[in-house]
Symmetry: C2
Subunit: 220 residues, 2 copies
């Protein structure tokens, strides 16, 4: 399938058992993530820039200021790499060597395209917004023309992608299991805390459910 093309460039080269190429797993990781790290090259120098993103079907959406060097570079059609990583646990083994980290990550290689048609751009903005904070778009003041002009929206097809994950407990050398060393996982997760209302909130406005119960662990 094109959306899963396991090309030489995305094949997981080391520990191939950790490679994941099926569409559903890739989508699940992308949907849980919130920040992507985008790699691009300027004058031979690689740069890696963090940015919010959203998945819509078989494309990633990025948005930001039309003045952003990263977005302008991407919109020009430069090769890029978008990586999303979920940090799930520290893995503490009995030997220093076998310490590890549990994680799930997706790498998407490709080229971006600016979304310029006004209706498509507004719709991409809405999809982006709803992916980050479901239920909020219809409650806020929508972007005016000036704001849309200041915003660049780009899409990157998810057609050369792979995921990688480590999800096990500690794996020690057999001899080391006899050592009186604590081993196990320290789970980690990007966790939302109680919303902090703005100082200038309009009288009587209460905190919406999508803020109180914010989570990235959802189906879409």
């Amino acid at each position: 399938m094109k959306h899963n093309a396991r090309t030489e460039r995305t094949r997981v080269k080391r520990l191939p058992k950790r490679g994941i190429y099926d569409q559903a797993s890739i989508h699940r990781i992308l949907d849980e993530g919130l920040v992507a790290h985008v790699g691009f090259v300027v004058d031979g120098q690689p740069y890696v820039v963090p940015t919010a993103y959203a998945r819509d079907g078989e494309r990633l959406l990025l948005h930001g200021s039309a003045a952003s060097r990263m977005l302008r570079t991407l919109a020009s059609g430069a090769d890029c790499c978008v990586t999303v990583t979920l940090t799930d646990a520290l893995v503490l083994a009995r030997s220093a060597f076998h310490h590890s980290m549990n994680y799930r990550s997706v790498v998407v290689l490709g080229r971006a395209r600016a979304i310029e048609d006004p209706a498509a751009k507004l719709e991409a903005f809405r999809l982006f917004f709803e992916a980050v904070i479901p239920g909020r778009w219809d409650t806020v003041r929508l972007p005016n023309q000036k704001e849309m002009d200041q915003t660049l929206l780009v899409e990157i097809p998810i057609d050369e992608a792979s995921a990688k994950a480590r999800t096990e407990g500690a794996l020690d050398e057999e001899d080391d299991y006899a050592l009186p060393v604590w081993a196990g996982l320290i789970p980690l997760a990007l966790t939302p805390a109680a919303p902090v209302p703005d100082d200038r909130l309009f009288d009587g406005v209460t905190t919406p459910d999508y803020a109180t119960h914010y989570t990235r662990k959802r189906g879409r």
Copy 2:
């Protein structure tokens, strides 16, 4: 100062007020982070790979399998970019346009060098380990020669670096403050949960404090 060189390449180009170049702020972000995203170029294609890292003074330490393409590319002296991002909050404004994210990030540009001297390599491994889980190195089975041979440790000088941060609340257009729209922050943090002991723990071994009270928010 060399460690803070604000070069044309690391100057924060957009919203320069968000740029941070002082050493202490850069170190604080690097010390709180756990996973870096490393950018490098192979055949013109940028790749971004997540990896654990540690700061030791004015250098970053990365380690992993000697078979890792990322580490081998770095050890060969390729230009790289190491980015660390802390995701602090979703910023919900009254207008769609002014939604944002609070974050702190550091970008380090440079070239890595493999640490090959056996004593320096073991010491770098220890420093790396202690930065990730302080207090544990002295309790585990230390690496043997075969394990050290399978491990690549590289250092990257922190001498071309910049940080960027957004730390404010929602900033709306003046007219929009009259709208009855909830605004504020949803704080986010990479949060440790209760440690999960390994199934094959040696009898009587109890969970150490550094696991029960794991935190990245510490001075070093």
